[in-house]
């Protein structure tokens, strides 16, 4: 698996800083689970956080604070065992939200064979899984804010490029696109957005309230 489309530097920094809304953080954590390049870059941005902490001010904590903390120290957790590498379609953080792998997803049809499953996140942004049958297109749409899409299975293409498993598409207001799932395998994506999509067609617009997209 070669990942060609990655998290951007500002997104990595925001994830390292802990300021991404939960839905975007879920996409970031899922991509990071699949991409060692981004994981290494994240470690760099976390090191910046360490440097900020180290160089920042210090506000006095009394000895009573230390004594209280010492009093509550228990037995440390044993060192983590080797992780069991499971062949999952859903990366581990996403697996935790769904409560299982692909078979556990509760899909809802939204027309033309496309299915979605909305994931519970807080912070004003939404995250959903999308199932697009091979060869099927998603209606032409623009974006009011930011939309992050991570491919989990299959691939899709739009005017900008091809996106396969592990690839991220970062769509801003400048992008108007109509993604098409590649023939051969149904495409499954994780998508998060901080605003509602802007469809050009009348029917998709009418359906928007019902679909919650």
């Amino acid at each position: 698996m070669t990942i060609r489309h990655h998290l951007s530097e500002p997104l990595l920094m925001a994830y390292a800083a802990g300021s991404l809304p939960e839905a975007f953080a879920l996409v970031a954590a899922s991509h990071l689970s699949m991409c060692d390049d981004c994981r290494a870059a994240l470690a760099g941005y976390e090191a910046v956080g360490g440097a900020v902490l180290e160089a920042g001010d210090a506000v006095e904590i009394s000895d009573a604070g230390l004594i209280a903390t010492l009093a509550r120290l228990g037995t440390p957790e044993p060192r983590s065992p080797m992780p069991v590498r499971r062949a999952l379609i859903l990366p581990v953080p996403l697996h935790d939200y769904v409560g299982g792998d692909l078979a556990a997803v509760k899909w809802r049809p939204i027309g033309m064979g496309v299915r979605q499953s909305i994931l519970a996140t807080t912070g004003g942004c939404s995250a959903r899984l999308l199932y697009i049958p091979a060869g099927q297109s998603v209606p032409d749409h623009g974006h009011r804010g930011l939309e992050l899409t991570l491919v989990l299975q299959g691939a899709f293409c739009d005017a900008t490029d091809r996106f396969g498993r592990g690839d991220m598409e970062i769509a801003t207001e400048a992008l108007q696109h109509a993604p098409v799932a590649e023939a051969g395998q149904d495409c499954i994506c994780l998508a998060a957005t901080d605003a509602r999509l802007r469809f050009t067609g009348v029917v998709p617009r009418l359906m928007q309230g019902f679909l919650r997209i």
Partner: protein, 192 residues
């Protein structure tokens, strides 16, 4: 309060750079050494408290959370990996997660864990290199223009959105990235 020299902040003082936090952390991890823990507490807890206050916590909440963070450091010491992060970086990630939990009351999705097995100790050369890279990063940040450094600090206090974070930070992250990349590759190789 730590004394701050006139004209700005010092990112890494000689004294701090020479204290071997990794050695203290390993004593906590391997021997549950409370003296080593107290030394780490005296250095890091006041910084965590200040960091959380800058992120918008009251002094009381910040102190409570700083104690939580230090208790977590003890509890999860077995996860500390000096070949992948400095002690300050590791403390920062725990403090960040505590902030998300306490201040934003949100969940923090984390990537799948990549951990060293008990039988594979991290390479000492990696441990040394990570410490070197962090030192260089600290020096580079101290040399940044005040305005740019203030912006980076605000980003880490959780004060900037992802779209407000500028792309060009001028930080020498390339070497850190390639170091971590190598450590990950070695680890994946061991596991396969």
């Amino acid at each position: 309060m730590r004394s701050v020299p006139p004209g700005g902040k010092v990112f890494v003082t000689l004294e701090q750079a020479e204290t071997d936090w990794v050695a203290l952390m390993c004593r906590v991890r391997d021997a549950q050494d409370k003296v080593a823990f107290a030394a780490l507490f005296r250095h890091f807890a006041p910084r965590i408290k200040a960091f959380l206050m800058k992120s918008g916590a009251s002094a009381a909440l910040a102190e409570e959370c700083a104690q939580d963070v230090m208790a977590t450091l003890w509890q999860k010491a077995g996860q500390f990996d000096p070949a992948r992060a400095s002690v300050a970086t590791w403390v920062f990630t725990i403090a960040r997660n505590r902030r998300i939990d306490a201040l934003r009351r949100a969940r923090r999705p984390e990537p799948e864990a990549v951990v060293w097995g008990p039988e594979s100790e991290p390479d000492q050369a990696d441990v040394y290199a990570v410490a070197q890279e962090n030192r260089r990063l600290g020096v580079a940040m101290a040399a940044l223009p005040e305005k740019q450094r203030a912006l980076i600090e605000r980003a880490y206090y959780g004060d900037l959105t992802h779209s407000e974070i500028a792309l060009e930070t001028g930080l020498p992250l390339g070497t850190i990235k390639s170091r971590i990349r190598l450590a990950l590759e070695r680890l994946r190789h061991q596991m396969s």
